[in-house]
């Protein structure tokens, strides 16, 4: 029976019409129309500078963590791309394509350099939604690990509702410390990509505070984290 199917798989996705849309340090992202569905394929590549065993262990761990986090979010009503197909051995994840732009792009398009005077109701609404959704994620004891404005998309078909992507560095934790660090990472990302946008981040924090009973302890922690930076333990 095993000779019934041919065993050759595609290693270079561009050969079947996939379009490379971004490449990061960890993975390449392709867009592909698979049986009429717009898909994203996220493929982690082998890092030759790492020991092969270590490399496959790290890749495996991250891919599992990513899909488990996506699954957890999906089940609890947080909008994330739906999984279509997972190949652990080839470290490939196929996900639903989200039609929309990143929050980063949206802010660039709408606020030309001055974030203080151009706060439209739409921008405020998006910031509030981000705060609320991040709070929901934290209430699941899930830490995103890489919250930046380019990892949050705005879905065009549902009037710019937020979609969280890239859970590659996510992990589970119940500690207020970890959640505060997650918010701190978002704050740093916000301020460095969008100068003078403190008021927007305050909007996010405010709605984060209003969304859950666990928030005050996290916000308190955030003040401590701000004073010392995100690393609690300093080595050497």
């Amino acid at each position: 029976m095993s000779d019934l199917v041919k065993m050759e798989g595609i290693t270079d996705l561009t050969k079947i019409g996939a379009e490379l849309i971004s490449q990061g340090a960890e993975a390449k992202t392709f867009k592909l129309n698979y049986f009429g569905m717009e898909c994203i394929i996220k493929e982690r590549f082998v890092k030759t500078y790492r020991h092969p065993t270590l490399d496959s262990k790290i890749s495996n761990k991250r891919i599992l963590q990513e899909i488990r986090s996506l699954n957890k979010c999906k089940k609890n009503g947080i909008d994330v791309p739906g999984l279509l197909f997972v190949d652990i051995v080839q470290t490939r994840i196929m996900m639903e394509f989200v039609n929309g732009i990143t929050v980063k792009q949206f802010l660039y398009n709408n606020c030309e350099n001055n974030y203080q005077n151009t706060q439209t109701p739409e921008i405020i609404r998006i910031c509030r939604e981000i705060g609320q959704q991040v709070c929901k994620i934290h209430d699941l004891n899930l830490i995103h690990g890489d919250l930046t404005t380019s990892n949050i998309l705005l879905r065009t078909s549902t009037n710019n509702s937020t979609v969280f992507i890239d859970f590659g560095l996510s992990y589970t934790s119940t500690l207020a410390e970890d959640k505060a660090v997650d918010l701190y990472v978002l704050e740093r990302a916000f301020i460095s990509t969008h100068p003078n946008s403190e008021s927007l981040f305050n909007e996010i924090l405010q709605s984060y505070k209003d969304s859950s009973k666990n928030s005050p302890s996290v916000i308190n922690r955030l003040d401590q984290v701000r004073l010392r930076g995100r690393k609690k333990l300093a080595f050497g």
């Binding site: 041919k6 595609i10 049986f35 009429g36 569905m37 899909i67 609890n76 197909f85 190949d87 639903e96």
Partner: protein, 185 residues
């Protein structure tokens, strides 16, 4: 009847046929249990369109490619992979042929005309000519799809907004459950 090439594993194809008003399910069932049939027979209550089978087929090939199949052959593996659980008996029961089924999908990897003739002579029923949609590049036939069966078979109750979600969301949840098979803690 429709044949699809699987792009990720070139040279392989999956042919899908829908039968209805089948009168000799018992006979097919007995042959199936003896392991004489080289194709999958799939309960169509939880299948909303051909893509669901095609994604499962892609996974069969990827498993065949990189490790070992969990079941005896690619065709039983296809049924097993449609299910979100790793319980084999349960998967076959929910997604395979049942004795009282009058309609079902038949899926064949790399079919040949001989095989198609075999199927034609064995199954006493009407082959449904499904309309291929050029735009969505698939066949969506929901006449036998049952939302309740899908929710039960894919344990979609775990999704918070399942009660009020629309069809496209339901489909995305089904794909989500399928791809998480065996990967949860």
């Amino acid at each position: 009847m429709k044949s699809y090439d699987i792009p990720l594993y070139p040279g392989n194809s999956l042919t899908i046929i829908l039968y209805q008003n089948v009168s000799n399910t018992d006979e097919i069932m007995s042959k199936l249990l003896k392991g004489e049939l080289e194709y999958s027979i799939i309960n169509c209550k939880a299948i909303f369109d051909h893509r669901q089978l095609l994604f499962a087929a892609t996974k069969v090939l990827s498993i065949q490619h990189s490790s070992k199949l969990s079941t005896h052959n690619v065709h039983s593996e296809l049924i097993y992979l449609l299910s979100p659980t790793t319980n084999m008996k349960d998967s076959i029961k929910k997604f395979g042929l049942q004795a009282d089924d009058k309609q079902f999908y038949i899926a064949i990897f790399n079919s040949t005309s001989e095989k198609l003739n075999d199927i034609k002579s064995l199954v006493k029923g009407d082959q449904v000519e499904e309309q291929y949609n050029e735009q969505s590049k698939t066949i969506e036939n929901t006449s036998y799809f049952s939302r309740d069966t899908a929710i039960e078979n894919y344990s979609l109750k775990e999704y918070k907004d399942i009660a009020q979600c629309d069809d496209s969301k339901l489909k995305s949840y089904i794909f989500n459950s399928m791809s998480m098979k065996g990967l949860l803690k």
